[in-house]
Amino acid sequence: MDGVTGELDSGGRLVEMTELALEIAAQVEGTNIVEKVPNRSEKDVQQYCSDNAGWEAQIEARNYLPASLSSQIANVITALRSPP
């Protein structure tokens, strides 16, 4: 940032689809995971994600506490059950 303009890419820990599904299933009782897909990181495919460096630097500089994956899932479950 030069004081006039700034840019920030969202970031966070990379999560594979199957891991995400397992985390959600853990919060919605009785949920079955029908198909587990291979991890993208194990395949030679282009990754769509930020480098996370700017995000990590900014949250540290601003003493920001980002929501955990678990709480993000809980928020979305609450919202989709009863829209805010």
């Binding site: 769509y48 919202a79 805010p84």
Partner: protein, 205 residues
Amino acid sequence: MAEAPLSLSALNLTASALLGKPRVLVLGAGGWFGKTALSLIARHTKSLMLVGSHERAVVVNGRPFHIEKWSEEEVAKFRPEIVLDFAYLIRSFLTDHGFSDYVQINRELSQRVLSLAFLGWVEGILTVSSGDAIEARNRPSTYIETDPYGALRDEFERKFLEETHRHSVRAFIARAWSVSGGFVGKPMNYALSSFVLQAVTAKRI
């Protein structure tokens, strides 16, 4: 209706950023990011002007808000100090509008934001972009035909930084790569909300 849980960290950051800035204009106020912003800023802002694709009333966290259509004249009367820009047609609208209209509408939305940089009273503009802008960077100009969303986001980001710098307006680009939130408008289009929807409605992912 439930209240979307708000992050205390986000609320505190928003409060400090808006301190002493009474007039805030929100573009794209009725969408996912717009409603999220409303839930964060409403309690800290004395005067809000909300603009969306069409006039309507929305309720965010139990509080009613009026969204109006864009009017250059009304915006000039309001004299916003801070602009929060979430007005953009994402990729899923391409099918609805067709290539030409999609490009034209998004360029018009971009031009509105750029025009605000010329107004003497606007001190800062925050816009939300996408990781697709980075993906589009360094691609040939014909890339717009392959991925109009990414190419247009990249085109806008460049002009936005150029124009705001020229007019000494504080400018910030928040680039969303992968985000979640309770105000998601099309949950089936995003992995996290799509999985949650499948789990909640069918107990299977």
